[in-house]
Symmetry: C2
DNA sequence: CTGAAAGCGCTTACAG
DNA sequence: CTGAAAGCGCTTACAG
């Protein structure tokens, strides 16, 4: 149903490749041919078939993003700014939510791999490390967001949680707080690092105060996987 | 880099089409060949190239969703449940956010069209009606979410706002409220309909009480476009 | 049940 | 500057 290069080429009596070149702003086309082609593509409101283009170029202009929950403001914010940055490069986001379900997460990663995406980003998930390694091995660039996992060949973008804990504690010290407690969430790397920062700041005080530490969530908490 | 049907076929000395059939559970393949193929695809952890499949079948298994803002809980909720329903059918969501920018919105729709999606859903946007009509004309099924616009050939899923206004008002009446006001948002169809419902419920009372109506947002409010 | 042929819509070399 | 050829990885008919 949609218009193809072939039809435009036939209409104009030129080879397909010429039309293709015009549309990708190739230099080596005469001004006359160029104008003719552009006119016709406009008349028919031609839209290149990105699927076909992907197949031959090997680039889908699509980046996968796997997050545990779209409704969680943190991940929604990540998705939003990620999409905005990618858009500047002509890339689009294929967002998958795992709903916190490890089984689903594996499936989604398999699916993303089948789509031959330009890259796959995985945000802070209780993702199976083998699954992540599979992605990294597939040749599709893998970016880990927020939660660092030891995967060969993966990139990482996240928060310096140690620094965060330290800054927060130093702030409290600077405004005159004396007895400072560390109230934390589940037992994951995020909490560990922030606690490290808390300790570091506390240990610089004279005399060093006792550590006070509370845990907000049980370790086995259902939502542990995607609470920061 | 990734494994292809061709390689598997070559390894096994069978034609490509046989491998393809096995993977799609075609009946007319001998048990022996079938097992051989499955074994080899597993060994190589073959993943079908969905781009290639899309090109030939004409189905991308991808549905576009255009929303004004991912961070708005209403649209995040829409995206989430939509994705969940689609997943049951083996469909995936390509989410685009227009950031409330009409220009960007046009571009995104053009892009979605180029991807030859199986369907495009547009949620409650100040979308240009011409753009929407373009989508509808393209042959890609169009679904309007939440906000109804008179587009030929478009489907619509949304809230019965008149009924909502009526139900809310009737509830207040039933618990004994006497003087009931209608406090509303911007001057769009949603508010109008709810006000209709409010009126309808009020007019059934004896004696009919006076209407009391407040507007929460100025008509020209920046966010009018995507506040319900 | 097996297999050779054609084609999806495009792009990448490479020859004139 | 123009154009014929090959191919991306797969599936759909259709002949044996």
């Amino acid at each position: 149903m949609p218009v193809t290069l072939k039809e435009i080429a036939r209409d104009l009596g030129v080879p397909i490749v010429t039309v293709s070149k015009v549309l990708r702003n190739h230099e080596d086309i005469s001004r006359k041919t160029r104008d003719l082609v552009l006119k016709r593509t406009r008349e028919l409101s031609y839209r290149p078939n990105l699927t076909a283009r992907s197949l031959v170029t090997g680039c889908s202009s699509l980046v996968g993003l796997l997050i545990p929950d779209l409704l969680h403001p943190f991940f929604a914010e990540v998705a939003r700014s990620f999409a905005a940055k990618l858009r500047e490069q002509g890339l689009y986001l294929l967002i998958c939510s795992s709903e916190g379900d490890p089984e689903l997460e594996s499936q989604q990663l398999e699916h993303l791999l089948s789509r031959r995406l330009d890259a796959i980003a995985v945000a802070s998930v209780g993702a199976d490390e083998d699954d992540l390694q599979t992605v990294a091995n597939s040749g599709t660039p893998l970016v880990l967001l927020d939660r660092q996992v030891p995967i060969a060949n993966a990139h990482f973008v996240g928060v310096n949680d140690l620094r965060v804990g330290q800054l927060a504690t130093e702030h409290l010290i600077s405004i005159g707080c004396k007895r400072i407690a560390h109230l934390r969430g589940p037992a994951n790397a995020v909490g560990e690092k922030r606690f490290e920062g808390y300790k570091r700041a506390q240990e610089r005080r004279h005399p060093v105060p006792p550590r006070v530490r509370y845990r907000g969530f049980r370790q086995g908490h259902r939502e542990q996987g995607f609470r920061r």
